[in-house]
């Protein structure tokens, strides 16, 4: 058909017409090439579209800057039973572009009606400003967002945000920690596991049991209040696994509003604080000496005279001034006996034993807030002697509870953990023999049966433990009024499951404790109350107590009823041990600074025989 026009053309142009016709045909052939290229190009576009949309979405060929605006989905933190401790909620924050607000007065009035916590005058000032962006309110609830949206005010807009929420509030503050407004972990588990939480993987399951944590928190808070203390620490550890079921440090804070808490509230005394623990340290002196064989359960030391070293003298507060057996040294908390026991063991052996318990290195646990222990770099005999009864070396309460667990669980030192442990730790080092561990259990039970720890006892749960009262080191030496009173308990002592440590910082004695603020008076009862509360929760079956204990318990009741004031230094030989059990272990300067008020368990009643008589009537 292309030939038709040329046929009717004038002859003058026939020749040229031929060239044009040739060019036209060539052009059409080449047009096919161009058309084919276009077909290919558009097919490539179609294929690539399908690739990035459904075939291989989310694998951008070019990657670089992160997508802005999408709220990060930070992972959850839960307790061992799945109770929620930290989660992220998608919220909306409302902001305004004041240049689009036609009537700031009306807008401010309307907004203040639906968001009554906002100040109308401030709002008006914000909306009338000549900025292009002002926050109105952050993290609205869906109901609030709906209400604001319903106002229909032009110039308001929402930004999606994620807000970290801690449903348990201050209860787990020092463990879980908190994250900042940018959703980065700033403390505690939130900081330690920041990377995996940001990755939004499976929830982190902690070893904490929120029920146990609650009991601990409540009892500790009550103790802090009644003794007007500046702080307290409480921990519950599974002695077989090293898992912490509770970790409380008071004062604490609400992680939902961490900024409003004073810095001292954010200080974790359990892991970051290190303290000279006082008599609880004798657990390790006695265990070390027994395990080394330098002393035996039947052996003992002469505690007749104070030990004098240079300017210092080591005394027992209620000196028996006689030979004490190993159990007596432990139960009566004899400083002289402990010092001699450690010296007998040998400076380097004693030190090596404490090192094996981890006391010379920072604790290893899943928290960033870890304090480094303090210990003498030049470790001489005098250091051995004072450390033997808990002075001259400062460790964190976490380290004490961890090492105590090893003393009673058969002798294996587990790494403490805040994560739920599915299996027992492998290769956990043995630090003492099973026999020594059994002896330690016996000794710790004696402290509760007959010594300073009586108020920690709970019928049927067979609590064992050790009290401690240390004077805090301050400017110009140890301060006799600033005590660190502690009790570390273990139950059930015959087959230990849990270690419970309670430490009260600077308690002041009250009427009920006759003014005493020592470990036996302020910390041991807390442990007793906690055992009573959590024992059933944790599935520990109470056992029938042997007769002497029942009698002893009744005896205590009698004492309480009579309101007898504890007396120190009761004369009867059978009772003598009781009084001396008092914690204040002192290093006194030769000048003879008056020792702090003695501690004593409820008077005399404790000796099985004596009590049985009392109790019977």
């Amino acid at each position: 058909m292309t030939a038709v026009p040329s046929d009717v053309m004038q002859d003058a142009r026939v020749e040229l017409q031929g060239t044009t016709k040739g060019a036209l045909e060539a052009g059409k052939n080449r047009l096919l090439v161009v058309g084919a290229l276009f077909a290919l190009a558009f097919s490539a576009i179609a294929l690539r579209t399908a690739e990035v949309m459904v075939l291989k979405p989310g694998q951008p060929r070019a990657h670089g800057a992160q997508m802005a605006g999408a709220p990060p989905n930070r992972g959850e933190i839960r307790d061992r039973n799945g109770e929620l401790l930290a989660t992220s909620l998608a919220t909306a924050s409302v902001y305004a572009d004041p240049s689009l607000i036609r009537d700031p007065d009306a807008a401010a009035r309307k907004i203040a009606q639906v968001l009554p916590e906002l100040n109308e005058a401030e709002l008006r000032a914000k909306l009338a400003s000549d900025k292009r962006f002002v926050w109105i309110d952050r993290n609205l609830t869906p109901r609030q967002q709906y209400a604001v949206n319903r106002l229909g005010i032009p110039g308001l807009a929402f930004e999606r945000e994620a807000r970290r929420v801690y449903p348990q509030g201050s209860l787990v503050a020092h463990v879980v920690g908190f994250a900042g407004v940018d959703n980065r972990g700033l403390a505690g588990i939130e900081r330690f596991f920041d990377q995996s939480l940001i990755a939004g993987e499976a929830p982190i399951a902690l070893s904490l049991d929120i029920r146990v944590q609650h009991a601990m928190h409540e009892e500790l808070s009550a103790a802090v209040q009644s003794f007007n203390a500046i702080g307290a620490v409480g921990m519950v550890m599974d002695v077989r696994t090293g898992e912490l079921l509770a970790l409380v440090s008071l004062p604490d804070f609400d992680p939902n509003h961490p900024g409003s808490a004073p810095p001292e509230s954010r200080f974790n005394r359990a892991t970051l604080g290190t303290y000279e623990m006082g008599s609880t340290f004798k657990i390790f002196t006695v265990a070390g000496a027994l395990d080394a064989g330098t002393t035996t359960m039947k052996g003992g030391y002469d505690a007749t005279h104070p030990i004098k070293i240079g300017r210092f003298s080591i005394e027992d507060y209620h000196a028996k001034k006689r030979f004490l057996t190993t159990p007596e040294i432990f139960v009566h908390s004899s400083n002289i006996g402990a010092a001699k026991m450690a010296l007998d063991m040998g400076v380097s052996a004693h030190r090596a034993f404490l090192e094996s318990l981890g006391f010379t290195a920072p604790a290893r646990i899943e928290l960033p807030e870890i304090g480094a222990p303090l210990w003498p770099r030049a470790w001489r005999e005098v250091n051995t002697m004072t450390i033997a009864f808990g002075h001259g070396m400062a460790v964190s309460p976490l380290q004490i509870v961890t090492a105590t667990a090893a003393m009673v669980n058969g002798g294996v030192l587990n790494t403490p953990t805040l994560l739920r442990r599915e299996t027992l730790e492998e290769n956990a080092p043995r630090v003492i023999s099973p026999q020594t561990s059994a002896e330690m259990r016996k000794l710790m039970r004696m402290v509760v049966e007959q010594g300073t720890g009586k108020s920690a006892d709970v019928p049927g749960y067979r609590v064992g433990g050790k009290t401690g009262t240390a004077e805090k080191n301050g400017v110009g030496g140890y301060k006799k009024k600033a005590l660190l009173s502690s009790f570390i308990g273990v139950f059930p002592i015959d087959e230990p499951r849990y270690a419970i440590a309670v430490m009260i910082d600077e308690p002041k004695g009250n009427k009920e404790t006759y003014g005493y603020a020592t470990g036996g008076w302020v910390a041991a009862p807390v442990v007793g109350r906690i055992v009573r509360r959590v024992g059933p929760l944790l599935g520990v079956e109470p056992v029938e107590d042997p007769a002497p204990e029942q009698k002893q318990k009744k005896g205590m009741v009698v004492t309480a009823n009579t309101g007898a004031r504890p007396r120190m230094g009761a004369a009867a030989p059978t009772l003598a041990g009781m009084d001396a059990a008092a914690p204040p272990l002192r290093i006194t300067a030769p000048l003879g600074i008056a020792p702090p008020p003695g501690i004593s368990a409820p008077t005399g009643i404790s000796t099985p025989t004596g009590i049985s008589t009392l109790a019977a009537y």
């Binding site: 058909m1 292309t2 038709v4 026009p5 009717v8 040229l16 060239t19 044009t20 060019a23 036209l24 060539a26 052009g27 059409k28 080449r30 047009l31 096919l32 161009v34 058309g35 276009f38 077909a39 190009a41 558009f42 490539a44 576009i45 179609a46 690539r48 579209t49 399908a50 990035v52 949309m53 459904v54 979405p57 989310g58 951008p60 060929r61 070019a62 990657h63 670089g64 800057a65 997508m67 802005a68 605006g69 572009d97 240049s99 689009l100 292009r132 807009a157």
Partner: protein
């Protein structure tokens, strides 16, 4: 369906029965989709830069009747008239382009725009299609009458346009104009030796641009090695594609438009993908492909070299622009600020495209055999 009777001999009646109604339908569909996507994408952009949210929508709808008028009006003209209009547009366009460095206002580092009352126009947008027609005219004339140095004139005009574009500077437009002119030269019978030689020149030109124009270099660097710079727009666009899946997130549900600065213009394809899904995107690609390939198909029966070269040039420009826009949004090539014909927001670009496609429709109209010659 048929607004005009078969025997309607009025201008519009004749137009309706001679115009390619398939192409017309495809262009109408593109215009409608473009309006819809402006409605979807631009409020977020307007809100972000502090304008009334319907600002762009209103402007686009204001241009729409104008564009339809231009499209239909130009397509009513016979080929000879089209050629004349194109030549005049080309001349005026060149003059305005020469003036823009003096009177134009600067947007994003380049002076391409002239203010005309409430409107601003980009003269080069109109020079682009007009030059394709003028170049086709010269090639065809040179082929028909040996006395006319058509190729030489066309090459000279091409160099003038190139020089004016390079002055603005507008690298993308240089590439399109060069590619279209080269395609037309190729169709007009350029010997294969020259095809290779000019092809090498083009490649060399890109290298020179890379070496001398920092923003070109940076775009190419970022494409070749995404880690070397900010690929925010491209990676965000790809995430938008990925979130669109088969059927999209629904109209208005997209998020890319509130993040990418040019969502309503250069990245409108990503907005379409996120909100309407794969099938809508494929339909869009098919529409562009259809317009180009159907045009080419009809040209295979064309008897006039000028019509063939001009139409092929205009369609190449249309198809190339669509391809470059979609390919860079899809991260198949370095980003190049080029609009998606009829879909992207932009009044000047819309009018210029209406002008170009009006010429395509007019040139492709079925002509009585004896009236076909120019």
């Amino acid at each position: 369906m048929n607004p005009f009777a078969r025997n309607d001999t009025g201008a519009l009646g004749r137009w309706w029965w001679t115009v390619d109604r398939w192409t017309l339908a495809a262009l109408a569909a593109l215009l409608a989709i473009g309006t819809l996507l402006t409605l979807a994408a631009s409020p977020a952009v307007a809100a972000r830069i502090g304008l009334d949210s319907l600002y762009f929508v209103r402007r686009q709808i204001m241009y729409l009747p104008l564009a339809i008028t231009v499209l239909v009006g130009v397509s009513l003209l016979p080929a000879r008239e089209i050629r004349r209009v194109a030549a005049i547009t080309f001349l005026f366009g060149l003059i305005l382009m020469a003036l823009t460095p003096v009177f134009g206002h600067e947007i994003k580092g380049a002076k391409r725009w002239l203010a005309l009352g409430p409107f601003s126009i980009q003269p080069s947008e109109f020079v682009k299609p007009a030059f394709a027609v003028v170049a086709a005219w010269m090639f065809a004339a040179g082929s028909a009458q040996a006395a006319i140095p058509g190729r030489l004139i066309s090459t000279g005009l091409f160099l003038v346009v190139l020089a004016l574009l390079a002055r603005q500077p507008d690298f993308g437009m240089v590439v399109v104009v060069s590619a279209v002119w080269f395609t037309q030269f190729f169709l007009a019978g350029l010997s294969l030796v020259w095809v290779v030689a000019l092809g090498l020149c083009g490649a060399g030109g890109i290298v020179v641009a890379y070496l001398t124009m920092p923003h070109v270099a940076s775009r190419i660097d970022r494409f070749l090695d995404p880690a070397s710079g900010d690929t925010f727009q491209v990676s965000t666009a790809l995430e938008a594609f990925a979130s669109g899946r088969w059927f999209g997130r629904g109209p208005g549900e997209g998020s890319v438009k509130s993040i990418i600065p040019d969502a309503h213009a250069d990245f409108v394809f990503a907005v379409a993908a996120e909100e309407f899904g794969l099938f809508a995107c494929l339909a869009l690609v098919a529409l562009f492909g259809f317009v180009v390939l159907r045009g080419f198909w009809r040209l295979l029966r064309e008897t006039d070299l000028f019509v063939l070269l001009a139409t092929a040039g205009l369609l190449t420009q249309f198809g190339l622009q669509a391809f470059v826009n979609m390919a860079s949004t899809l991260s198949l090539m370095p980003t190049k600020g080029m609009t998606l014909p009829f879909i992207s927001y932009g009044g000047s670009s819309l009018l210029a495209l209406a002008f170009a496609m009006g010429m395509v429709l007019g040139l492709m109209r079925r002509r009585p055999l004896h009236a076909g010659r120019s």
